[in-house]
């Protein structure tokens, strides 16, 4: 094997380091660049393509020229020049673009001051970008991919790896989504009045979906994909600063911060899931808990209305505040679940309420609520129903029934680690059928 040329190796390292820096610049700037270009072109798909072209130009030119002092301004200017060229060509072909061409030229004269941090205009553009990426006319999975791409600065490959989906599938989803937005002439705007609430909840849904995909991976061998949680949290925190007067946004951020605070306690070093009550609470991330509690306070300061995310955040906060499982304020959690069940009646919330009731008033009370859910068709294939029922039966000393339920839950879950855990619990029903479960 010939010895590596040290100069070539050095040059290669320099190029790699530069590419990492360009990646970092892209992460920081891409959303703002795309948002600005969307306002200019009124076409989010085109804006993204132009921004990508500017990135390619940066990767070609910066190794020679060095990274400019203001990389965002460089990327925007480069993309804008391409936009203007493109529209000029189109304008020649089709006169109807003439007006747009003039608009572009006017825009070219007024160079936005990208040295100044997020001013209101850029903030507004970012918020418009959030709303367009999460537009209800797109399927949920496309909204998630587009949001990560446009606002999170992730590459198609990174999104594909995060969702364990083949890259061409993600690429196609993004292309289709962009086409749908163009075909339906979805305006680049922040919805107003009564529309705002519905559109905002679509945005929150997408962010929480991304978070959950990372937090409780529905498929694959890993229980968690923490970087996806971090991406969702970053999006949530950005949104909270863009819409500081929306309590539910703070509610969602609080919920994610508190759930993420348990990341390191939730999985053992060998990759097994640890349930909430078995977690080592000293491993909970106090910084994130503090941030979560602060976000709840921010929501409370806006008004006294508690939406679904805020209620869930407050439930999570009850756990976060308890230094040991026995210190958990279960009666308060029951109250919060009652409120949540009234607000968004759903079998899954009812299931969680049953768990809280069993903790506050004993397994028998919980089991009564669970059994009422037995015929619920939407839960027929939901592994947590037999899993919770098994746990309550176990606590009531009805071990043979508990075993059947644990096995049913193991057969239903798609997560291999969780399946292992449920099988272990099923096996335990046989070995210690005489002992009653430990009290929490």
């Amino acid at each position: 094997m010939p010895a590596a040329d040290p100069h070539r190796t050095q040059a290669l390292h320099r190029t790699q380091a530069l590419h990492r820096t360009i990646d970092a610049v892209w992460r920081i700037e891409s959303a703002r660049v795309i948002a600005g270009l969307t306002r200019l072109t009124r076409d989010v798909g085109l804006a993204e393509d132009l921004a990508q072209e500017a990135l390619v130009a940066a990767l070609e030119q910066w190794p020679q020229s060095g990274i400019p002092d203001n990389p965002a301004a460089w990327l925007t200017a480069t993309a804008k020049r391409r936009a203007i060229d493109l529209f000029r060509r189109n304008a020649v072909a089709r006169r109807k673009h003439e007006e747009l061409g003039r608009e572009l030229e006017a825009f070219e004269q007024t160079s936005p001051d990208l040295d100044s941090p997020l001013d209101n205009t850029i903030g507004d553009d970012l918020l418009r970008l959030v709303f367009i990426a999460c537009h209800p006319s797109l399927p949920t999975e496309s909204r998630a991919a587009l949001t990560l791409r446009l606002l999170g600065g992730l590459t198609t490959d990174e999104i594909a790896r995060a969702f364990l989906t083949p890259e061409p599938t993600i690429a196609q989803r993004i292309v289709r989504a962009k086409r749908t937005l163009a075909d339906k002439h979805i305006p680049f705007e922040v919805p107003r009045g009564s529309e705002l609430a519905a559109r905002l909840s679509s945005v929150l849904e997408v962010i929480y979906l991304i978070f959950n995909e990372g937090y409780s991976a529905t498929t694959g061998d890993d229980l968690m994909r923490p970087t996806l949680c971090e991406d969702a949290l970053r999006l949530g925190r950005i949104l909270a600063e863009l819409t500081p007067s929306e309590p539910e946004v703070h509610g969602l951020v609080a919920l994610m911060e508190i759930q993420a605070s348990r990341t390191r306690a939730r999985v053992t070093s060998t990759g097994e899931l640890v349930l909430l009550f078995d977690q080592n609470r000293s491993q909970w991330d106090q910084l994130l808990i503090h941030r979560g509690l602060t976000a709840i306070e921010r929501a409370h300061k806006i008004n006294a209305i508690r939406g679904p995310y805020l209620l869930q955040a407050e439930i999570a906060a009850c756990h976060a505040r308890a230094r040991t499982p026995s210190e958990t304020d279960w009666p308060r959690i029951v109250i919060l679940y009652n409120e949540l069940a009234r607000l968004i009646p759903s079998p899954v919330i009812e299931l969680n309420r049953a768990v809280a009731v069993s903790m506050a008033h004993g397994p028998h009370a919980g089991l009564t609520l669970i059994d009422a859910l037995a015929s619920e068709p939407s839960l027929a294939r939901y592994h947590l129903l037999p899993s919770v029922r098994a746990d309550l039966l176990y606590k009531l000393g009805r071990h043979p029934e508990a075993r059947t339920e644990f096995e049913r839950a193991a057969a239903l879950t798609r997560n291999t680690r969780e399946r292992d855990l449920l099988r272990i619990r099923a096996a335990a029903c046989e070995t210690d059928s005489t002992t009653w479960s430990q009290n929490f």
Binding site: R27, R264, S269
Partner: protein, 145 residues
Amino acid sequence: MRFMVIVKATPESEKEGALPDPQGIADMNVHIDELMKAGVLLGYEGLHPSSKGARVHFSGKNRTVIDGPFAEAKELIAGFMILQVTSLEEAIEWVKRSPNCQPGESEVEIRRVFEPEDFSDGFSEEGIEEEKKVRAQLADQAAKK
């Protein structure tokens, strides 16, 4: 991943009752606002001069308390931030955008915070034994110098 951005002290920041000039504070607030809006700032604090602090010196079983102030301002810290970003390069990019509120030379250090995945191999029995061996060797080498 998380990084601690450590703002080193300067002779100015070590002065009794030292506060940055109002313009410096205003500029820094703009920067902090930008970090918050980008969703990367987890927390930050500014520190009083070392004259209001103390050191505890460890030597075997002894602990000796030394009251501030301490000399060598550039070895002290004046504040810190915790950033949640995706690479060291991203942390560097953010720090480069910070305003310079110091009249003279100053320095900001960026250090990666340990996270659970950093320990994933460290908990095995073999890993701990291996670590002990390496440390013993290092101590041995140091003693021979």
